[in-house]
């Protein structure tokens, strides 16, 4: 029954995007903090660390996802033991979205008024206090907004991963909608994706607005 298959696709998409976005969140925020604080005039100034990390992030960000996915196949096999299915898609998805999210979070962190950092230093904050009590809370609305964008981009990429064998909604749209000319399946998948993206965007916007006290 194609409805069951559709349901499985939704679950697979959720799984792929959920797991890799969680990892991107956990890795991306520290990465963004390091990128901001190690820069010139930052509280943990370390120009070399900053340059190397910056270069890494740029490399991964400049490779299109489709190519990155193929190029990472040996690495994916090493990590999850297979190059097929949901878990195999998690590896390239995570590697593509972490630097993406880190860059967006970096911008939000960088926008925190320098006066606040100065005030924190003047009140006797240690450097990690500044990260924890000033930088992150002040940048949080922006980070939430950035994570929303990352999620939407990942749904996009997961469809691409699906098309080369990872499962999920993209896989269904490609195999049934495109290869078998089943317009009904194709339209259903499109509607589902639009709803999914709209819900994520709306939820993210609401949360960011609620967190923003400015």
């Amino acid at each position: 029954m194609w409805l069951d298959r559709l349901w499985q696709g939704v679950i697979d998409t959720f799984l792929m995007v959920g797991v890799s976005s969680l990892i991107a969140l956990i890795l991306g925020i520290p990465l963004a903090v390091i990128l901001v604080t190690s820069g010139k005039g930052g509280i943990f100034e370390a120009p070399n660390v900053n340059r190397v990390l910056g270069a890494f992030v740029n490399i991964f960000r400049s490779v299109p996802f489709l190519i990155l996915m193929v190029a990472l196949i040996p690495f994916t096999r090493l990590i999850v033991g297979t190059t097929y299915g949901v878990w195999a898609a998690v590896v390239p998805l995570t590697i593509a979205s972490t630097p993406f999210f880190a860059r967006i979070a970096e911008v939000s962190l960088r926008e925190v008024d320098h006066g606040l950092i100065e005030a924190a230093q003047a009140m006797g904050c240690r450097r990690w206090h500044i990260v924890w009590h000033v930088l992150l809370p002040e940048a949080l609305p922006g980070i939430v907004g950035g994570f929303t964008i990352t999620l939407v981009t990942m749904i996009n990429s997961s469809a691409m991963a699906g098309a080369i064998g990872a499962g999920g909604l993209g896989d269904i749209a490609y195999r049934y909608g495109y290869q078998r000319f089943d317009t009904q399946v194709m339209l259903t998948v499109i509607v589902l994706l639009v709803i999914l993206v709209a819900v994520i965007q709306l939820g993210g916007d609401r949360l960011a607005l609620r967190l923003n006290k400015r």
């Binding site: 606040l116 100065e118 005030a119 009140m123 809370p137």
Partner: protein
Amino acid sequence: MSATAQRLLSPHGAIAHPERLGQPSELHPEKQHAHVRFIDLGKTYEGQQGLVPALQGINLDIRRGEVFGIIGRSGAGKSSLIRTINRLEKPSSGRVLIDQVDIGAFNEDTLVDLRRRIGMIFQHFNLMSAKTVWQNVELPLKVAGVPKDQRQRKVAELLELVGLQGKHKAYPAQLSGGQKQRVGIARALVHDPAILLCDEATSALDPETTQSILGLLREINQRLGLTIVLITHEMAVIREICDRVVVLEKGEVVEQGPVWQVFGNPQHAVSRTLLAPLQHALPEDVQARLQPHPSADHASVVLDLQFTGSNGTEPDLSALFNALGGRVSLLHGGVERIQGRALGHLLLAVSHSPLSANELISRARQYAQQAEVLGYVA
């Protein structure tokens, strides 16, 4: 004569705080040690065209318990100087001593400790927008690891001191400028510091709010015995609350002294420029008619009398007018009290006086510290 007037005019009452006028007090020998001392302090920045000097050869003592003002035009180095006290700015040369301890070699641990003994407030308040008023004031205690019950007591006490009870749960965006600065002051005082640094603390506020914040700072200075160091580009702020002032220009001290002295008799051109908006100048129409020599028989002599506060009392006008002879009219002028001293300018037009210009000046000098003839009007 009322008791107030008596106090104003008596030679002792006129000087409200003798220890604030320059002589070290005998009652408080510890005041003789500078609370903050700058020794040959210099600071250079790396600019695009090489090194730019921001401060050079600064030697200053700030006394315990005084309100010390640093004034100068923008770019004079005020910000850099005040920030060397809590080492937000690292000096390039020279030393800063606080309680006779050189803070130059401090590491992160000792600096954190030092900064908890020095509060600071800012022009743009610098409050955490994502935290409530309460959380903002609590933050310095939280990062210092103070237990919760102590934090609650202290924060409540300080919010009451600055008059913000009932605003605990508000976010900074919901407050007016004056209220934000009050939160800033509460946050700065939460560790019971010995020094409060004010970085243009009233420059973003309207005149009325400025007055209330300055009033609060004065109250804090007197009640808690805190040393206050403030920088500003407004002379009115200095007049309002400072005991002593230094004038900075291009990174150097060009003038310093008790406020009444610098106001009454500014020595440097920059001090005079900064004071100009507060001073009484000759009205424009009189200025236009002013002639260097007497043109008609009954030309009036325009006299400029200055009271620099060095003898402390208000000018005795009836005696002054009698001494000048003839008809005396007041063109412009005023007297104000700074630190119990009467300072001011009187611009007078004297006509029908039997005295020559030179005689007028020497008579006037018996009452005013400075007198000169500006010219003549018909």
